[in-house]
Symmetry: C2
């Protein structure tokens, strides 16, 4: 048994308990009602870094929630790994669909996780995956097995678009100087199929407001005679996709990276079973852009989804009203070369231009970020690949993810270093959904694998 | 000064105070949380009828909220007037748009009501207008001026479709026997322009549910690959109107009564100023079915409006989710000859038929009712017209209303008597909206006018 495995075996109960404590704090960055909890989580992360062996730990203030920084510099001549993660979590709603309270972690067995999984908001995204790095550091320090300098940059605004992380990075180039950025905030294909995420989609998130009459009206007295903001909003949103599910915003596809048939063929080799995919979601069919497969639709193609819509009377029973306003939250997932600010502008101009007379429309950009692609011929990828090989006994598969970590492309621009994405979550872990969970096996496997990345990266960097 | 006017002058402070007390009880029939208040309101109405002079008053149980019944039979040979009204009210939301709490009535002057108006939910619809009849009865009894027998049937489920009133009427034909049904639950054109509502639209109210994946999903990992129930719902709703704002449900217009050019020309004579209409609602333009005027669109034409829509994340900030479900409440206003049950069936079949694969759709009919037209050559209309002439000094204008009192057509079918609609509210009274109010002048004018209807009806019935 390798050293790290033995150490993990000996301390795993504590490793789990420490994560459980962290998961109890509802660090919901989207809802200001939880401000105290978000700040308390930052403190808890700072303490865990100090305990794990960081010699310097700080709560770094920003215009928003603080960044937790920690470092252990063992030798200026050794390469430096910068670990990025986030301590904030998604809102838990719809709360009634959780089998157990989202901030009272419980460990239960599941089909995918016979060794048990921790159920709690943030278990996988990203407290659990971030904490793997804290425990891996503890192992390396306690066992004199740390071959690189380490820096941690753990933020509290990832789920709301990392609005102030750019601000922080611009002001701390020297402090954040590194040779590689290591992140665990993505997934792996399966427990027996390690994978490295080589692509992330960008994001543009907006909120729209349609205003009709200046007050709610009786639908009998005014119905049919004035524009109903809900009816109008549905028409406007519906028009954003054509019959082939292509997005109709002029210029939207102009800069989309088109993959070659070879690249698409290589993607198609990744294990995927459409029937199981539909079965897992109780779908009679999938749905998406003409001419692309399911795995292409959710990774290499840009999308537009309504994430929330509301207007009028949504209580029990019936109310015959024409509301004054209707709203929607809309997000677009972008692919490499699409600039999120440019896309946001295209959306805003188009959406305002299609508003019929009789209503006024407001588009409020929320946040966004660029897509990212990791080269698979660099030493970062090589080091990660070697680490997986040593622990899993097989080559990891490179895969494009449909998700976004908006800040990654900024890291490369600001810090001139590559990012490597070693994810240990499974697609079925329900991140952003009720009953989010993280496999105990995956959590411990991550702690076991990470030190091997340090080892191989130090070797390759020589 | 006529007798009734003098009596009202002497007692108006008490008349106002009694109504204020009634308005303080939040009798919201749509929300079961207010059940106690709805029942308490029934009791209060019963007592007021007894005080006003009814010799028999009862709380009549139904499968839903009770019907308050009261009667004063003075002579079997005299004609009998059955007064219908309702003691339940619409939900007050959006509550934050009220200038004063909806169930803490205040009297304030407005441009339309320089003598002051009572602001409260139900002030006009229908507690205030219903209570005019209670006070008119008090006057007639106290002053030996009652020329007819009187029966009151005041229900508590009008705002949720009078679901059990039909049940009650079928079982009480004898008790409810009458020569005319008198209702004040509509409006008048203007304070100096009395009008009688001769047409009501029917109603079909449904709730739809679109289900996609069996759980909320991360919009990055699944966006573009599965049907998003909100996107699909917007497409389905948008398709219910064509580019000319005609409703696309097959068969929807088959039985619609088409008015002659003469009838439309007569309608066009009613005073109406489009600029003022737009100004009052802060609209840059009106919106509706091609080929019809604003007053036609909201009275003689059927319509389809979304009254509420919801799905996904509607809290503060952003959540990148594809929800499992999306919902909408949709109501259709119908015109004479359209059968609401048939239209509900047409809607259900059509809406389910346009659901794309990848989602499942449920349509739940809420309630509905038929439209109604009052003949203007009957003695009921004549009596009302004479009453207005005596009090206002001018002929009332017959007008079609866009609103619905679903139960009216049932009255005629079950009780073989005509209904006359004497409304005293103004369009600007914001019924079903925040800041609903009822003019003090209108309230007192109604109490003054009603006894003249009894007088002329008794005369004409001889």
């Amino acid at each position: 048994m390798n050293k790290s495995k033995a150490y993990i075996e000996e301390h795993k109960e504590r490793f789990l308990q420490e994560l459980v404590e962290l998961l109890k704090i509802p660090s919901i960055s989207a809802d200001s009602a939880y401000k105290k909890d978000v700040l308390a989580t930052a403190e808890a992360v700072k303490e865990s870094l100090a305990k794990a062996g960081c010699e310097l730990t700080e709560i770094c203030e920003t215009p928003g929630y603080p960044v937790v920084y920690g470092e252990k510099i063992i030798d200026k001549n050794l390469p430096t790994v910068l670990v990025y993660g986030h301590y904030d979590v998604q809102p838990p709603d719809p709360i009634n669909l959780w089998d157990s309270p989202p901030f009272e972690p419980v460990i239960k067995k599941t089909e995918a996780h016979p060794e048990g999984a921790i159920f709690a908001r943030g278990a996988c995204d990203d407290k659990g995956q971030m904490y793997m790095h804290v425990k891996a550091l503890e192992y390396m320090v306690k066992n004199d097995d740390l071959p690189c300098n380490v820096k941690f940059m753990i933020e509290g605004e990832e789920e709301v678009g990392s609005e102030n992380l750019g601000w922080f990075i611009e002001r701390n180039h020297e402090k954040l100087k590194n040779d590689v950025i290591l992140i665990s905030d993505t997934g792996m294909i399966a427990k027996d199929t390690p994978s490295i995420t080589t692509g992330l989609r960008g994001l543009s998130y907006v909120e729209v407001e349609v205003t009709g009459p200046n007050r709610d009206l009786h639908s009998g007295l005014y119905g049919g005679a004035v524009a109903n903001p809900i009816n109008v909003l549905t028409k406007m949103i519906a028009s954003l996709h054509d019959e082939n599910k292509h997005i109709t915003i002029p210029g939207f596809y102009d800069k989309v990276e088109e993959l070659t048939q070879e690249e698409r063929a290589k993607m198609a080799e990744a294990p995927f079973n459409l029937e199981n995919y539909k079965k897992a979601l109780d779908l009679n069919d999938v749905y998406g852009e003409e001419g692309y497969t399911t795995n292409e639709r959710n990774s290499i193609r840009p999308t537009l989804d309504v994430n929330g819509i509301w207007g009028g009377y949504i209580g029990e029973g019936a109310k015959t009203v024409i509301p004054s306003k209707a709203y929607a939250k809309i997000s677009m997932r972008l692919v490499p070369h699409q600039d999120w600010k440019e896309i946001t502008e295209l959306f805003k101009n188009h959406f305002e231009s299609i508003a019929p007379s009789g209503v006024t429309v407001k588009v409020k950009p929320h946040h966004g970020g660029q897509g990212y692609v990791t080269p698979i011929d660099g030493i970062e990828y090589q080091a990660a690949s070697d680490a997986y090989k040593e622990v899993f006994g097989k080559e990891p598969i490179p895969q494009r993810s449909g998700g976004s970590i908006p800040i990654v492309s900024l890291f490369e621009k600001e810090l001139q270093s590559k990012t490597i994405l070693m994810g240990f979550g499974l697609d079925t872990d329900a991140i952003h959904s009720p009953n989010e969970h993280f496999g105990v096996w995956n959590y411990l496997k991550g702690i076991e694998t990470i030190p091997f990345f340090y080892k191989h990266f130090a070797k390759l960097k020589k």
